[in-house]
């Protein structure tokens, strides 16, 4: 039986198995992430700086999320 992959839209002859994957020690750490803004939000926030400023204010305002900034992989507002 074919092993399940984390993706449902890749072709059946493919298998993406990360079980033996190791971090590339020569690659630099990913510092940024691309997020798609919905049109109504994008009409207000027109640059990365303004989005970052607003979200930093949100981190300050919501104490629970502030200390969780150390775990960037998790979306702490939607656990």
């Amino acid at each position: 039986m074919k092993k399940k992959t984390p993706f449902d839209d890749i072709r059946t002859e493919y298998e993406l198995d990360y079980s033996k994957a190791r971090k590339n020690r020569f690659a630099s750490e990913q510092q940024t992430v691309s997020i798609i803004l919905d049109p109504d939000i994008a009409s207000v926030f027109k640059a990365s700086e303004s989005v970052n400023k607003a979200l930093r204010a949100l981190l300050e305002a919501v104490p629970h999320t502030k200390h969780c900034a150390e775990d960037p992989k998790k979306d702490h507002l939607h656990p």
Binding site: D9, I10, R11, E13, Y14, E15, L16, S34, I36
Partner: protein, 234 residues
Amino acid sequence: MLTIESINTYYGNIRALKNISIDIAQGEIVALIGANGAGKTTTLKSISGITPPRTGRIRFMGKEIQNAAPEKIVAMGLCHVPEGRHIFPQLSVMENLEMGAFLRRDKAEIKKDLDYIMSLFPILAQRRKQAGGTLSGGEQQMLAISRALMGRPKLLLLDEPSLGLAPLIIRQIFEIIEQINRSGTTIFLIEQNANLALKSSHRGYVMENGEITLTDTADKLLSNEDVKKAYLGI
């Protein structure tokens, strides 16, 4: 098949692509032409997930891929032949081809694809045990295209396939590109050699300073006075 909607790609603070929108239908050969530094390579890298766009959407076969990892994009059927070939010089021709099928598990079909590639490029069959780095420029380009074909692409992205090759070899490479297209693979091609690219394509896009400035059928672009003056040297 591929729809790019208003993508913006950055290198640090430099905006390399400005609201690029491109459509590619199944079965087409589409050329993207433009001067050096216009953003053609960045466009291909944005599609294949190497330099993902900061904003905008890319849909391939109806799925959004602008945030997908490159290996997932390959597994969905989109393969990229990079500028300058980037074959593995120390590996043999056969091993280079096997690397193109690295993520596949259907061994019998991989064997069939190898046979197909050897019939498409008989020179690679002759050189199957030879190290990739010892091949001529044209043969390396054939190997790079073949390695991508081993991923069984539905859409093949070709970055400057004529770069650094002799005219006779270029003609041979483009005949093979057309043959690959006739066998059912859609092709998105970028070239500085606009005349050659448009003669082999159904449609074309013209890119300047990170923006698409013109799009039309290849025949119309070939007879467009501005394109003639700027890119065809006429």
